[in-house]
Amino acid sequence: MTDTIVPLTTKKDWMSDQEVRWCPGCGDYGIMQAVQTLMPELGIAPENTVFISGIGCSSRFPYYMNTYGMHSIHGRAPAIATGVAVARPDLDVWVVTGDGDALSIGGNHLLHALRRNVNLTILLFNNRIYGLTKGQYSPTSEEGKITKSTPMGSIDHPFNPLSVALGAEASFVARTHDLDRKHMMNVFRQAHAHKGASFVEIYQNCNVFNDAAYDGVTGKHAREEMMIDLEHGMPIRFGKDGHKGVVMGSDGQLRIVEVAEVGEDALLVHDAQRPDPGLAFALARLSHDDHSPTPFGVFRDVQRGEYGAMVGAQLAQASEKKGPGDLNALLRSNGTWQVG
């Protein structure tokens, strides 16, 4: 017999009364649908949930959620959310950010929130363009990209968001895309369940300034041969009937192979829980362009101390050792003398 979870809320309980103002056709709608559909399943209450965002198109997200929320400053959402999560470990804190917000102006805060392993679920909407400012290249735009600020093509080498997160000691790293609600919900569910900082890159389409950026990978025609679904403990295979797979060469390099040629046993078995992030890093860098097989799913999911809990533990430890704070004692702690 299995327990049946009766959701405390419905999707509607998570939708605010504000008119959604993204451009028609924006990938953000799909992501919002996935989040709002997922929420009742998580068994949490809207009043205990906080969405913090920075600035950018994606950062309007909190206005549309019937939770506590803050639309803050460009790049600063991870820092502000750290304050919320450390002050109130009882809350579910989500960060919604974009490629410019998280990786350009707010790079530092993202790195340190991940390093500290603050209990945040960070959703990075990566559309590889600045949308709100109407079409400049972003830190994830490909080299050579022609935009308003790069009429001769971008000469900036882009970030790989997953590499950045893994390099910043992230304990949970995943990728999903805006066209597959089920996949998004599955990844978000795991990200939410993870204690500590969870980082999710979402391939998100900006149909106005960078349309079809991911068509070569997530487009209906390409998906089957281009999307590699990572499943923990399973051999990494993809393509029609799983005819392709990933192997690790003797030089440590990951390669895409025909399963028929190498045999099933030669395939790499995905292990998201490996303490060492090397494999996750290699998988994050398997694809170098927009039309090569690209892994999706959870790359890394390991446990280590969660920051807010550790802050709380030190407070409890101090109280146990010194008793509750006594202002009279504090004022006298450096020695006193009497006059009169």
Partner: protein
């Protein structure tokens, strides 16, 4: 003369006060020496005021003038406020210290030098081409030459201390000597050395201290010791406190009085870091401290904590204020309580990190984009930093606004005796969180409006996450008056800008009126703020004793200003505004009240001397 008569002759001479300056290389332990002399004087019951003065470099090249670290302490048998304009005694541990600080010593002052440090190499490093001890260069002073290093070595040699290690104890020799000279009790210092050091280092320091004390007692270099009797301070229990510790304790007290946990987000910066250090020790008060990745994050974390129902605080100095500007603007727009503490130092940019200045009033007043008014509180003495912190928190919480609390390097590191307040007398600064919906919409449905204001204070409700039914979103985008929904309409923006200004303006009715001390009917009034309090206080007392009338108003609230200030200032022919900047308050006063105020400025990284203020008064009246 018999032995007894001789001993009687060497009984301490009573003096009312003395200013001692310990000066040496950064590695000579002068801050520690000064601090110990201060502590023992505090325990003895003197009134006192201190001025640590040290370089920005952790260890500048040894023996150079740039590496000189000094500690000036004024001890007195009566109420004093300043560390003294000119030291009566200078202890110079090396030629560089002599070079750096001799000009401060009063005419005829006592100069105690460590002759062991005056070899050719040390003299050269200090920039002397001659030995000032060998000619009449120092003839204006009473010079006492003591080979402190070798005497320390001799005293510690029987313990098995190597000469090189013994050298590190020579500051305790100096402390012992000066302790004898001013009849300080030895027990507290001996006990402190016992508790602070271990093994051979402890023994070496104890031996050096005792040797210094005995040296004063047995040699004929000094006629007799002096004694500064305990001061007749108001009855009570006292502790010696620095501004930064007082400020940190004030924040702890504010949390207690507000019944809220304190959350500090901070990034290390001189001279504010000690507040982070101090608050990190008080986790049992529920104080959370996070050393953030940068100044911006430190402010952001504090704001996030404030949104969540904590007393959010961020501490910094000038360069950090610049970085936190965007967060202050957001906090002004979100109308959430936040306390930003600015321990001012010499600027612009890195400026003089270890030296004092009070030149951040402009950035505190105006350093945000858009119309972003916020209240400003300024501490005026080391112990007043406690009350100022509670007051800044009170205003922030009651009016749901960021508040800037200004202190400076001089207050931060300086110390004075503080008559402990009774925590029961501290103000109750608690506020209520919103727990109920507060608006009925056109369809008769109850809602929560996050920007529906208190009609008196104009403060908006504070509903924290976890409160059922009051979920709401706030953001930097302009909000509709009342509902808080995004609203870009022209009339609404105008309403909101005016409301935010009006809210801050109304705080004027909730702060003490400006008070005149001294002679209310004088021709000249001094208008001060911040740490100039000490020098102004001494100058006003002396000017009045000399028969000249002078009035003085000292501000603790710089925005909004007390409502009666304009009228008060208009009653004087001369309005002088002494400031450690180029006239920042003066400009505000002139603009606000159209009074012909004149700035008295100093930007040397040093506090005013009282003589400088006295001179300014005389010049205004002549």
């Amino acid at each position: 003369m018999t032995d007894t008569e001789e001993r009687q002759d060497r009984r301490p001479e009573q003096i009312s006060h003395v200013v001692v300056r310990f000066a040496g290389d950064s590695g000579d332990g002068m801050q520690l020496t000064g601090d110990r002399f201060t502590s023992v004087s505090a325990l003895f019951g003197n009134d006192l005021s201190t001025f640590p003065d040290y370089p920005a470099e952790i260890r500048a090249p040894a023996g150079t003038v740039n590496g000189v670290s000094s500690f000036q302490v004024h001890i007195s048998d009566h109420d004093i406020t300043t560390p003294g304009d000119s030291p009566n005694v200078l202890v110079a541990m090396n030629p560089a210290a002599l070079k750096a600080d001799l000009h401060r010593l009063e005419q005829g002052g006592l100069l105690i030098v460590n002759t062991d440090a005056f070899d050719e190499r040390d003299l050269h490093k200090a920039g002397y081409d001659h030995n000032p001890l060998h000619d009449d260069f120092l003839s204006e002073y009473r010079v006492v030459e003591i080979p402190m290093t070798s005497l320390t070595q001799a005293a510690t040699e029987p313990l098995g201390v190597k000469p090189r290690d013994a050298e590190r104890s020579k500051n305790f020799f100096a402390l012992g000597l000066v302790s004898w000279l001013y009849s300080r009790p030895t027990e507290p210092t001996l006990a402190w050395i016992e508790s602070r050091f271990k093994d051979l280092v402890k023994d070496s320091n104890l031996a050096a201290f005792k040797a210094g004390y005995a040296f004063g007692e047995t040699t004929e270099l000094f006629d007799h010791p002096f004694e500064v009797r305990p001061a007749q301070l108001p009855p009570g229990e006292y502790t010696n406190i620095t501004g930064n510790v007082a400020l940190a304790w004030g924040l702890v007290a504010a949390g207690q009085q507000a019944k809220l946990p304190v959350f500090l987000g901070s990034y290390p910066i001189t001279p504010a870091s000690d507040i982070l250090h101090e608050l990190s020790k008080h986790k049992h008060f529920g104080v959370r401290t996070v050393q953030a990745e940068d100044e911006i994050a430190a402010a952001g974390m504090a704001l996030g904590a404030a949104f969540s129902g904590h007393l959010g605080v961020t501490t910094t100095s000038g360069p950090g204020v610049a970085l936190k500007s965007e967060t202050l603007s957001l906090a002004t727009s979100l109308e959430l309580p936040l306390v930003l503490v600015d321990i001012q130092r010499g600027g612009p940019s890195t400026g003089l990190p270890t030296k004092t200045e009070a030149a951040d009033l402009n950035i505190a007043m105006f350093g945000r984009h858009g119309e972003a008014p916020l209240p400003i509180v300024a501490a005026y003495s080391p112990s007043n930093c406690f009350d100022a912190a509670v007051e800044a928190a009170r205003i922030a919480l009651k009016y749901r606004t960021p508040v800037i609390l200004l202190s400076d390097g001089y207050l931060a590191n300086g110390s004075e005796p503080w008559r402990l307040p009774d925590p029961a007398d501290l103000p109750d600064i608690s506020v209520s969180f919103q727990t109920e919906k507060n608006h009925v919409n056109a369809d008769g449905v109850e809602e929560y409006w996050p920007y529906l204001r208190d009609p008196d204070t104009l403060a908006r409700p504070w509903a924290i996450p976890g409160t059922p039914g009051l979920m709401h979103r706030v953001g930097g985008i302009e909000k509709q008056d009342g509902s808080g929904n995004i609203d870009y309409s022209p009339a609404n923006h105008s309403t909101m800008v005016h409301l935010r200004q009006e809210k801050v303006d109304r705080i004027a009715n909730d702060i003490p009126p400006a008070e005149v001390t001294g002679d209310a009917d004088a021709d000249v009034v001094l208008l001060g703020w911040g740490s100039t309090w000490a020098a102004i206080d001494a100058a006003v007392q002396r000017t009045r004793r000399a028969g000249t009338k002078v009035a003085w108003i000292h501000l603790t609230h710089l925005n909004p200003l007390p409502p009666n200030l304009g009228d008060l200032l208009k009653g004087y022919r001369h309005v002088l505004v002494p400031e450690l900047n180029m006239g920042q308050l003066c400009r505000i006063v002139r603009a606000n009240y159209l009074v012909d105020a004149k700035a008295v400025t100093k930007v040397q990284g040093l506090p005013f001397t009282s003589a400088e203020i006295e001179r300014a008064i005389q010049e205004a009246l002549s």
